[in-house]
Subunit: 464 residues, 2 copies
């Protein structure tokens, strides 16, 4: 603890020191056994006579806050102190818009037998050893200074190769911006491309955090219906400046954006002079043979901003994603990232570069895909067998979740709680709709071992 | 590389495969020696006969793109291909505001003998071994799922202890939000507290990235003059909703916000019902005995949001900072962080928690402070001896840079280049002023070994 001395203060130096230490003990910043700073050092530090410090310490000792120790020096005496809970008045209030953002919901995993929420991955599949080796190699050097906000050249080059090899997306490293994940990429695009009040189109149902994020940018967020071929292009508002889509595995319904729809969407964007964000969040996990070609490959005039993430392929806790954008946007995206949070962390960038270049990601995906496909098949099978009448399972060829559409009654607000009471966590789709929600939900199988699929479905059907 | 097959395509399956691979080779996605996928796997993947794949590969071999390998399999033939530089048309243009952000300036350190830019730290002082041990311990487990956007409870608790011990700032762990650095904290505060058009006050001269960041939020950013006691409280516009200050070591001038000014500022904020951001970016490095008490300690009604960073104490490349805010703001700050980039990375949080709790940061600062103080003294001495007439060195008791005020002529746009030509990188203060800049600059000694101070100053004075 640092001590302060204010020569202009009415209180004596002794009193000032005494009160600072006493307060620190009373509110728990110093606890039993903590050693007080040596009097000589404090005196030199504050430019006071050593006797002043000794006197202050003596007063604390006299009052029982502090005790002398055999080897010399003073330590805080044994007492029980409550952890400080400072009372700060409510002088600062969030704006109505900020207050309307949904508060963070701490994950209740501790109590759940089956975590079937969407977006979970199996931490047990994480390639701990390989990742650790790559991190270790990166940690050989000090992390260094601020660096390129768009990411290191080495990582962007590795990502360009990876995108080409795994998704057939051809871009130069200069077109890539490393981000802290999908939302971070969309946030940067919104910052550089849109003005408050601009119309943006999102899928309805869609991914609630992206809608919230765009709303927080004071944009006019229009929900566009999704049918079994994906987003209904004819329903996109003509004024939309940007459309966010999930072509390979629609979130949440799981449909694939149809071939004709893709052409329609690109044609629409050209006519309307709009940009498209292709959010390719989990298509690395496809469960059937056949193409899952990114929309970006069909784009002939650079309107599609491709957004990828390692949240599903590796772990959400790594907080790394990337986007590929037209050259024209890169300087502004880079400048916007720099003013907000400068650059990606150095060690993660170096580790991920090694991880990609040494082929660890391909190998990990090869293994993980086999496991997830088995779970997908199993969950699909169990649900088809057991879902009660009125509930319909939607087909999905990729990703780590399945969608179940409930009866066309108003959504059942208690379903999530009823399921939780039976140990099942699921993702309700209520928040995925801006209007007319149905009683639908997602079942994520990312963190659900294959052997536990049947009991999970049994517990779920009870809740339904 | 993933291959696609479109049954609706006019071209035959063989032609489609042939063209995809040929194009990948022509634009460098596949390079000499790369192995083509085994025909059996591709056939199974795409639901095609194996002979179709064999035929496509055969055509590529016949045309010289691919060659058979002794052990079986096909590899890309030796050829020189240029790296693809795809030509994307300029269909997407940044907004005028985004386009006006200053573009990233890649650091020219490779060419410089003396890197005296502000904000540099000595990577050689970084406690590589201790940090590596903490990271290793954190890497024992998989990084896991999404977690609390405000940061882990363990890290927030460690930070509360650290702030209390090192700066005398008493807050509960719940009041702390872990960020990716100072700007990230200010970005979150602007998101939750301000509306476009709101007036915010910054110091003039000040830290350009913060001004740019606030401007990017469409705020009305007012520069308030700084004199030798710090920000001139009487000059803060009455309409200001937020004031950003650097009380312990004003950026860039280095002055300490005077005792009376602190009281005036807090009184002003109460009258105006405004919030204050205290940016305490480098006060851990103080070079004289005596108090450097945070403004937060004097705040009696919870108006001061305290912002700290590990960019100077450890490394900017770690990308971790924190803020302590009134309880009333925490839910909105947490929600805002969640929609943008969810949460801090797990491994960094765990490693930093260990690093703080095991006392490594205190020990590192103890060592680093001794080194930096020596450099500070030396640079101060050299500059006082050698600065040409008209240049004035400003006193500074803390931090990692000194400010030099040039002659009151218009700023010299070529100074930075003249210095660079002599191997000296410095930080011009031109961008720190919105109006009336003078020919001033900063000399950072963070990355300048003590033994190199004298030659650096010699090279600098030549440039002046």
């Amino acid at each position: 603890m640092e001590l302060f001395f204010d020569p202009d203060d009415d209180r004596s130096a002794i009193r000032q020191l005494y009160e600072q230490i006493r307060d620190a003990i009373l509110d728990g910043r110093l606890t039993a056994g903590d050693r007080l700073l040596p009097t000589r050092g404090v005196a030199a530090d504050l430019g006071l006579a050593r006797s002043t410090i000794t006197e202050a310490y003596g007063r604390l000792t006299a009052e029982g806050y502090v005790e002398g120790r055999a080897g010399g020096g003073s330590v805080v005496a044994e007492r029980l102190v409550a952890y400080p809970d400072s009372e700060m008045p409510a002088a600062l209030t969030p704006t109505p818009l900020a207050a309307s953002l949904r508060a963070y919901d701490p994950a209740p995993e501790a109590r759940a037998r089956f975590d079937l929420r969407a977006g979970r991955v199996d931490a047990g599949l994480f390639p701990v050893a390989a990742w650790r080796r790559c991190q270790l190699a990166a940690l050989r050097r000090a992390p260094g200074q601020y660096s390129d906000p768009a990411g290191s050249t080495a990582l962007r080059t590795a990502l360009a190769h990876w995108m080409a090899a795994s998704r057939g997306v051809t871009v130069t490293p200069e077109q890539i911006v490393v981000t802290s994940g999908t939302s971070h990429a969309i946030d940067l695009v919104a910052r550089v491309l849109l003005e408050p009040g601009d119309v943006v189109a999102v899928e309805e149902p869609g991914y609630p955090p992206v809608r919230e994020l765009l709303r927080a940018h004071r944009l006019d967020v229009a929900g566009v219906p999704v049918d079994r071929h994906g987003i209904v292009v004819d329903a996109i508002p003509p004024a939309a400046r940007l459309v966010c889509v999930t072509p390979s595995h629609q979130y949440p319904l799981g449909v694939l954006l149809g071939r004709q729809r893709r052409r329609d969407l690109l044609r629409w964007a050209r006519r309307a002079d709009a940009a498209i964000i292709e959010d390719d969040y989990d298509s690395e996990f496809r469960h059937t043979p056949g193409p899952l070609e990114p929309l970006h490959r069909l784009d002939r005039d650079g309107r599609v901003i491709y957004v990828g993430t390692f949240s599903k392929t590796l772990s959400p806790a790594i907080r790394t994603g990337f986007m590929a954008a037209p050259h024209t946007l890169i300087p502004a995206l880079t400048a916007a990232r720099q003013i907000v949070d400068w650059c990606p962390p150095a060690t993660t960038q170096q580790a991920l570069t090694l991880f990609l270049n040494d082929g660890h990601l391909s190998r990990h995906l090869h293994r993980a895909r086999a496991v997830y496909t088995q779970r997908h098949t199993r969950l699909h099978h169990e649900l088809r067998q057991r879902l009660p009448a009125g509930y319909r399972l939607l087909p999905a060829d990729a990703g780590l979740h399945l969608a179940v559409v409930g009866p066309n009654t108003p959504p059942d607000p208690d379903l999530r709680h009823r399921a939780a009471a039976r140990g099942v966590l699921l993702t309700s789709l209520r928040r995925s709709y801006q209007q007319h929600p149905t009683a639908s939900f997602l079942l994520g199988f990312g963190a659900l071992p294959t052997g536990r699929v049947a009991p999970a479905v049994a517990a779920l059907t009870e809740a339904l």
